[in-house]
């Protein structure tokens, strides 16, 4: 078995990467809870645009499962604005924007529906 230093380096890299990622995945799998998605919706401060007021909305999934097709709704005075996010992975956040014609007055955001595995 004649191997040069490059082949040994690639082998060492492969061994370390494979085993550490495998270990990480097993650790992740065994420590994963079964909490379904629960959301925390944070509405940012308004920015004046030509059509009205635009606000950034951050949706954080506190559950242990990825949520799909997440419907987000933000209410401001009598106005409602919505958007949909394709995926919000577990313990991660995703963002979107809503636009209101009236000046925002303590707008409230919530998730109105989603699917999950």
């Amino acid at each position: 078995m004649k191997k040069n230093w490059l082949e040994w380096c690639v082998f060492a890299l492969g061994l370390v990467l494979t085993l550490s990622i495998l270990g990480y995945l097993i650790f992740l799998g065994l420590n994963r809870g079964e909490q379904p998605p629960i959301f925390k919706v944070t509405v940012g401060s308004p920015q004046k645009v030509s059509d009205g007021y635009q606000l950034r909305v951050d949706v954080y999934n506190q559950g242990d499962v990825t949520a799909q097709s997440v419907q987000v709704e933000v209410e401001n005075r009598a106005e409602k604005a919505r958007f949909q996010i394709d995926f919000v992975p577990e313990h991660s956040s995703a963002k979107g924007w809503v636009v209101f014609s009236q000046e925002p007055d303590r707008p409230k955001g919530k998730v109105t529906g989603f699917t999950a595995q």
Partner: protein
């Protein structure tokens, strides 16, 4: 010596890209990366490694391999596959440093495993045909079985992840499915026994009609099982009624049958 191994890695990288590019450019693959359970991805890594061991043992032009060398090569290919997958996902902006690490790693593993198989096939196939093909260990049925599984995985994985398989399975009648089964069966037998495909005389014994029948049955069995395994990995069989699982598997078994026959002969 050093130049030769760099050339070999270059072939491996080219092969890895060639065989896995469709999947790197497929949406469902990135999604699977964060929808699937981490333990399923861990199992995917183990299965890929076993497949690499089998392929490196029985395919390619270097037949003087000991098992130690086969294990070393397989780890090298896993490493190259993971690094290539991470690089491509980064260049395609599918992962970035702001991602949660678990999400990024799951995506890299999901894509990296097929890249690793591609690296292995590329290293073995794209090189120059150096040594004479005598006394190879790949004539045995176990070697052919392993190579058949590799061929089926290479062909079927690209298709198995897409939602099209579910749509096709849902919209086909039992008669369509029966027809598709017969077609899969026939294409395997045709490639292995009638088409004079390169290598078909050497690797598919055809002394009697019984050989042809058993060979075709074996080919379809491999395809069916590989399809079922791929669909399960991608979560396509979770919480589905058994009849729908079977029809999805039948739909995917057609490309798998082509891979297990024609693909197998090509990746020897």
């Amino acid at each position: 010596m050093l130049k030769e191994s760099i050339q070999e890695y270059a072939r491996g990288i080219a092969g890895g890209m060639m065989f896995s590019l469709p999947l790197l450019y497929t949406m469902e693959m990135w999604w699977s990366g964060f929808i699937l359970h981490p333990l399923r991805l861990a199992l995917l890594m183990v299965c890929t490694f076993v497949l690499l061991l089998g392929y490196n043992r029985f395919a390619g032009i270097r037949h003087d391999h000991t098992w130690t060398e086969v294990v070393i090569d397989s780890f090298e290919e896993m490493g190259i596959g993971l690094v290539l997958s991470a690089t491509m996902l980064f260049l395609l902006n599918r992962i970035n440093p702001q991602d949660a690490p678990a999400e990024a790693i799951c995506k890299i593993v999901m894509e990296g495993m097929l890249v690793a198989i591609g690296v292995s096939v590329g290293t073995a196939q794209l090189g120059m045909d150096g040594c004479p093909e005598e006394d190879t260990p790949r004539d045995g049925w176990f070697a052919q079985l392993t190579l058949g599984v590799c061929g089926a995985v290479l062909f079927a994985a690209n298709i198995g992840v897409t939602e099209e398989v579910q749509v096709l399975a849902m919209e086909s009648t039992p008669w369509h499915q029966l027809g598709l089964m017969l077609a899969s069966f026939a294409i395997g037998g045709m490639v292995l026994y009638f088409s004079e495909f390169q290598g078909s005389q050497r690797f598919a014994r055809r002394e009697s009609n019984l050989d042809i029948a058993t060979g075709s049955v074996l080919n379809y069995s491999i395809s069916f099982l590989v399809s079922a395994a791929i669909l399960w990995f991608f979560g396509r069989l979770d919480d589905m009624p058994p009849a729908f699982c079977v029809s999805q598997t039948i739909v995917l078994a057609f490309p798998a049958a082509l891979g297990a026959s024609a693909g197998r002969l090509l990746v020897q």
